[in-house]
C-alpha cells in the first residue's frame, strides 16, 4: 500500500532544553492524527490509523508523555484538526503564561499530496497546517509526517535540508528553530507493509524509539538517533519493493545546543535484549496479539535493548539459512543457545515487496455436467450418459502478487466430461462419445488473510476454451471433432500456507465454470462446466 503523502515530522524547536520526562518541569503534548480514508483517486490505507495509535502507545510508554497530554484523532476532517490544534495552542499558551516550558509532538499518518494532506474527501493545505502548528507557542515543536511526498512539507521557513542521514542535530542542541522529519522525499511515495501491518517508516521509527535506535547506549533515543535508524531501516526494507527505496528526510532550523531525546527505553519495565554477539534479521512478535513489535537487522558488536510492554514474545532470528526461534516471557535477553533452530530457504525479503510474490498451483477439480441443447440432442438420438456422470480435470495456475490483496496470472486446464453411449438396436455395435475441454485463461484473484496462515480468496478467470469430442462409430472408426469458444470461471475458497513449510500450501475451494466450447454439426452447443469442488497444492517463491 502506498501513502500518497509521506509522514512528515517537523520538529520545531524553540529554545529547546533537553527533552523532558513526565516529571520534568517541561510539559509535553502529543497531537496524533491518523486517517485511512483516501481522497478522489486514492485507495484507502490499511494501517495509518493503527500507526497513529501505536505512536501514541510508544510515546506514552517510553516518551514521557502523560495520557492526558496525548490527543489521538482518527477519521479526521480538516475542521477537526484545526480545532484540535487550536485547543493544543490554548493549553500551551496557558503553560507559557504560568512560566512553564512545553514541547509539542505532532504526528500525521495518512494520504497527502505535495500541497495538502488528504482527510477523506477534504484537504488541509500544508501551508495552513504549517502556520497553525508554528503558531502554537511551544518551547519545542516536533512534526512527524508519514505520507507520500511528505518531504514537501519540510519547506519550513528557515529550515536547512540535511545533506543525508549523517546529519547530526547534536551541534544544534539548545538552539531554537524548526525540525521536520518526513517519511519520504518530496517526490517519493510512502509504503505500507502487509507483513508489518504498518507503514515501513512508522514501524521503523517506533522500533528505533523502543531502543533499537539507541546507538550510544545511553538508554535514550534522541531525535538524531531515531532519524538515522528510521532512515537506514526504511531504505533497506523498501529497496526490494516494486515502488522502490523510500528515503526518510530530516530538516531542521535549530538554535542552541543539547541532545533532543524522544524516548527513554531504559526506563521501561520490560525489554527484550538482543545480545552483542547476535547477528541477523530479527523479528519480535507479540505472541498473543500476533503483531510484529519490531523487525530489524541486528548487527554484531553491541547489544540492542528493545523496550516492550509486559507479555510473551517470540523472537525469530534469521541468519543465512538458519532460523532461530526464541520464546521470551516478560522480556529478557535472547539466548540463542536456548532457542530452537531450523533450516530455512533464504527467499524472504526484509519486509520489502511480497514475501513470496509468485505462486504455482496444481489443482484437481470434480463436478457434474450441465444439460443443454447439445445433451438434449444426444438423448434424442438415443444416447445415454455414463452412470457416474462426473466431470473432472487438472489445472496448472501461475500467479503473481501485484498488491497485498491481489494476484494476477494465467491457467491451463484440461477436463474430461461424462461420456455418452448407445447400442445400435438389433446388433452388438455400440457408439461411444467422449468429451473433453481445454482452457487457457487469465486469472485475477483477491486474497484476504484471516489468520493462522489461512486466507480467503475469490477468483475470476476468462479465456479461450477448446472443446474436443471423439465418437467411436458403429464401424469402429473414431471420429474426432474440435471446436472452440469462450471460457469463464468464478470461484472462492481457502488457501492455507503454514510458515513451517516455507511456501508450500494447499487450497480447497468451489468454482463455477462455464465454457460453451463443445459444438456439434447441427448447431447445438454444450457448455462444459458447472459447479466444481477443487483441491490444490501450491508453491510460492
Amino acid at each position: 500500500m502506498i501513502r500518497p503523502l509521506v509522514p512528515l515530522v517537523a520538529l520545531a524547536l524553540v529554545a529547546a532544553p533537553a527533552v523532558a520526562r513526565a516529571d520534568d518541569p517541561v510539559a509535553t503534548y502529543a497531537l496524533i492524527v491518523g486517517s485511512n480514508a483516501g481522497g478522489p483517486g486514492q485507495a484507502d490505507l490499511r494501517f495509518a490509523e493503527d500507526d497513529a495509535r501505536n505512536v501514541a502507545t510508544v510515546l506514552g510508554e517510553l516518551g514521557g508523555v502523560t495520557p492526558a497530554a496525548i490527543d489521538v484523532v482518527v477519521h479526521p476532517t480538516p475542521d477537526l484538526v484545526r480545532d484540535r490544534i487550536t485547543k493544543l495552542g490554548e493549553r500551551v499558551a496557558a503553560d507559557a503564561a504560568a512560566g512553564r516550558q512545553s514541547r509539542v509532538i505532532f504526528y500525521y499518518s495518512g494520504h497527502a499530496r505535495a500541497s495538502a494532506i488528504d482527510l477523506g474527501g477534504d484537504q488541509l493545505p500544508l501551508e495552513e497546517l504549517r502556520q497553525r502548528l508554528f503558531a502554537v507557542p511551544a518551547t519545542l515543536t516536533v512534526v512527524v509526517l508519514d505520507a507520500c511526498q511528505s518531504g514537501a512539507f519540510s519547506r519550513v521557513k528557515g529550515a536547512a535540508p540535511a545533506a543525508d542521514f549523517s546529519f547530526s542535530s547534536r551541534e544544534h542542541l539548545d538552539a531554537s528553530g524548526v525540525a521536520v522529519l518526513a517519511s519520504s522525499s518530496g517526490s517519493e511515495l510512502s509504503q505500507e507493509s502487509e507483513q508489518l501491518r504498518s507503514s515501513y517508516f512508522t514501524h521503523n521509527l517506533l522500533v528505533g524509539l523502543r531502543g533499537a535506535g539507541d546507538e550510544n547506549g545511553d538508554g535514550q533515543v534522541s531525535l538524531d538517533e531515531a532519524y538515522r535508524y528510521a532512515y537506514h531501516q526504511t531504505l533497506l526494507a523498501t529497496a526490494e519493493t516494486a515502488v522502490g527505496g523510500q528515503h526518510v528526510t530530516f530538516e531542521a532550523d535549530l538554535k542552541g545546543h543539547g541532545e533532543v531525546a524522544l524516548s527513554f527505553p531504559r526506563a521501561a519495565t520490560s525489554a527484550i535484549i538482543l545480545p552483542a554477539k547476535l547477528e541477523g534479521q530479527t523479528l519480535v512478535e507479540n505472541k498473543h496479539a500476533h503483531t510484529v513489535v519490531a523487525e530489524t537487522y541486528k548487527a554484531k558488536g553491541a547489544p540492542v535493548r528493545i523496550a516492550v510492554a509486559p507479555g510473551e514474545y517470540e523472537v525469530l532470528v534469521r541468519h543465512g539459512d538458519q532460523l532461530s526461534r526464541c520464546e521470551l516471557g516478560g522480556g529478557g535477553e535472547v539466548d540463542l543457545e536456548r532457542c530452537s533452530t531450523e533450516s530455512v530457504r533464504a527467499t524472504a525479503t526484509k519486509g520489502g515487496g511480497f514475501e513470496r510474490p509468485t505462486r504455482i498451483e496444481i489443482s484437481m477439480f470434480v463436478g457434474g455436467d450441465s444439460s443443454d441443447g447439445y445433451t438434449d440432442n444426444l438423448t434424442a438420438f438415443g444416447y445415454s450418459q455414463d452412470f457416474l456422470a462426473l466431470a473432472g480435470g487438472l489445472s496448472l495456475t501461475g500467479l503473481r502478487q501485484v498488491t497485498p490483496r491481489w494476484w494476477a496470472g494465467g491457467l491451463l486446464a484440461a477436463e474430461s466430461l461424462p461420456g455418452w453411449s448407445r447400442t445400435v438396436a438389433g446388433s452388438t455395435a455400440t457408439q461411444e462419445l467422449s468429451l473433453s475441454t481445454y482452457t487457457i485463461a487469465a486469472v485475477a484473484r483477491a486474497e484476504q488473510p484471516i489468520g493462522g496462515g489461512v486466507s480467503l480468496y475469490a477468483q475470476l478467470a476468462a479465456g479461450l476454451g477448446i472443446g474436443h469430442t471423439d465418437l467411436k462409430g458403429a464401424d469402429n472408426m473414431t471420429y474426432g471433432h474440435t471446436t472452440e469458444g469462450p471460457a469463464f470461471s468464478v470461484g472462492a475458497g481457502f488457501h492455507f500456507e503454514p510458515r513451517i513449510f516455507r511456501g508450500v500450501g494447499a487450497s480447497v475451494g468451489w468454482q463455477y465454470d462455464y465454457a460453451p466450447d463443445i459444438k456439434d454439426l447441427i448447431g447445438d452447443t454444450h457448455a462444459a462446466g458447472g459447479i466444481r469442488a477443487s483441491w490444490s497444492l501450491t508453491y510460492g517463491f
Binding site: A380, F381, V424, A425, S427, L521, I522, D524
Partner: protein, 369 residues
C-alpha cells in the same frame, strides 16, 4: 403323414406369434449406423439411391435420399403379442420442397394400410403414435421420398408403447391377410378361411373341413411368402414336388413318399440291398439336437448311388456328383433364397431383430451323374 406336418406348422405358427423386439426397439439399426459398403445393412433399398451423410457428428451417420424417387424399407417382426400401440420418433433434415412419406404395411404383404407425410424439419425430433389392430405378425416400415429437395433421416426409433397412449388413435386395420398370417375370423383372410385347427392361421384349404381341391391337386403344404408368415395349406399339384421339397402328403411328391420333406424312403425296409434309410443332411446344434430338416434317402452320404439314382447331396453318389437344384433353407426347414426369407430370432436379444440364417444344405430334386 399329416400329423407330423401339422406339428411343424403349429410350431411355425406359434413362433410367429412370439414377436421380437430389442429392449422395446422394433427396428434394427434405427439410426442408420450399420453400412455395408454404400448400402444399409439392415434396410432394404426399394427404389433409387441413398448415401451415407453425417448428422450431428461425422461418426453418427444418417441416410440421404438421392434422387426424385427413393425408398428404403425394413420388415419388423413385431407382432400383436408385443403390443398394438406403436410409438415412433424421427429426427430428420428435410427440405421444404421434399415430399417424404412413412408407409406402413401390416404383415409386409405389399399392401400399405397407412401413409403419413413427414414434414420439413431441421433436426427437430418428432414423435407419433400408431394403433395397429390385432392380430398381426409383422409390420413393414417404408421411408420414401419423391420429387426434388434433400431429405436426410438420422433416426427412426420405433417402440412399443402403453396402449393408453394410443387410445385416441384410429386403428390401422390390416388388409385381408395372406395365407400363413394369424387370423381371428374368416374375414381376416384373403382366402376367407381362418383355420381353427391350425391355431388361427389363414389358409386356402383345410382337409379337415372337407375342402375339395380341383382335379389333379391336393390340399398340401404351402411355403410361407414372408419371413413373418407361417406355412399353411393350399391346393397343390399332385406329385409336383421334388425330392427335398417341403410337403404334407405323399401325393405332393414326385417320389410318392413324404416325410415332412419329399423323400425316397421312410424306413430302411424301403431301401434295396440292406441299405439304411436316413436323413440326407442334418446340422447338429451344440446341444445335440438337429437343426436342419432334410429328406430321408437310402444310404445317405455313402457314395453308393449309381448314375440316375435320386440323391440329395454329392456324397450320396458313387460319382460324387448329384445334379439338381441347390437347396437352401432356414433353420425351420423352409426353403429360402436369402436370410430375409427366414424367420426372425425369437430370443429377446440383440439378434431378435435379425433374420435367421439361410443355409445351403444340399440338392433338391437331384440325381446322380
Amino acid at each position: 403323414m399329416k400329423s407330423k406336418f401339422a406339428s411343424l406348422l403349429l410350431l411355425a405358427a406359434a413362433a410367429s406369434q412370439l414377436g421380437s423386439t430389442d429392449c422395446g426397439q422394433v427396428l434394427r439399426d434405427p439410426g442408420f449406423d450399420l453400412w455395408c459398403g454404400d448400402s444399409l445393412c439392415a434396410w432394404q433399398l426399394e427404389r433409387g439411391n441413398i448415401a451415407r451423410v453425417p448428422t450431428w457428428d461425422a461418426g453418427d451417420p444418417g441416410v440421404s435420399f438421392v434422387g426424385d424417387d427413393v425408398a428404403i424399407a425394413q420388415l419388423s417382426p413385431v407382432t400383436s403379442a408385443d403390443g398394438t400401440c406403436i410409438k415412433y420418433q424421427m429426427i430428420t433434415n428435410i427440405d421444404d420442397n421434399a415430399t417424404v412419406w412413412l408407409n406402413i404395411d401390416v404383415e409386409g404383404d405389399g399392401s400399405f394400410e397407412y401413409k403419413q407425410q413427414v414434414g420439413a424439419s431441421t433436426w427437430q425430433p418428432v414423435a407419433y403414435h400408431l394403433y395397429v389392430q390385432a392380430p398381426f405378425d409383422g409390420i413393414q416400415f417404408e421411408l420414401a421420398k419423391t420429387g426434388p429437395g434433400n431429405a436426410v433421416f438420422a433416426q427412426i426409433q420405433v417402440t412399443i408403447d402403453d396402449d393408453a397412449n394410443c387410445s385416441s388413435q384410429r386403428p390401422i386395420i390390416a388388409a385381408p391377410r395372406p395365407d400363413g398370417a394369424v387370423c381371428g375370423v374368416d374375414s381376416d383372410c384373403r382366402s376367407s378361411l381362418c383355420s381353427a385347427s391350425q391355431y388361427g392361421i389363414c389358409e386356402s384349404c383345410d382337409s379337415t373341413l372337407g375342402t375339395v381341391c380341383p382335379s389333379g391337386q391336393v390340399c398340401g403344404y404351402e411355403s410361407p411368402t414372408s419371413s413373418v408368415l407361417a406355412a399353411s395349406y393350399a391346393c397343390v399339384a399332385d406329385g409336383a414336388k421334388q425330392l427335398a421339397e417341403n410337403c404334407v402328403l405323399d401325393e405332393e411328391c414326385a417320389t410318392g413318399i413324404c416325410n415332412g420333406v419329399c423323400s425316397t424312403c421312410i424306413t430302411s425296409a424301403g431301401c434295396p440291398n440292406g441299405e439304411t434309410c436316413g436323413q440326407a443332411w442334418t446340422t447338429p446344434n451344440a446341444d445335440g439336437t438337429v437343426r436342419s430338416i432334410g429328406p430321408s434317402v437310402c444310404a445317405p452320404n455313402s457314395s453308393l448311388q449309381v448314375a440316375g439314382a435320386p440323391c440329395a447331396s454329392d456324397d450320396d453318389c458313387a460319382s460324387s456328383s448329384c445334379v439338381g437344384t441347390v437347396r437352401s433353407q432356414c433353420d425351420d426347414g423352409r426353403a429360402c433364397a436369402t436370410a430375409a426369407d427366414c424367420p426372425f430370432d425369437t430370443e429377446p436379444n440383440e439378434n431378435g431383430l435379425q433374420n435367421g440364417p439361410c443355409n445351403t444344405v444340399g440338392v433338391q430334386g437331384g440325381s446322380c451323374q
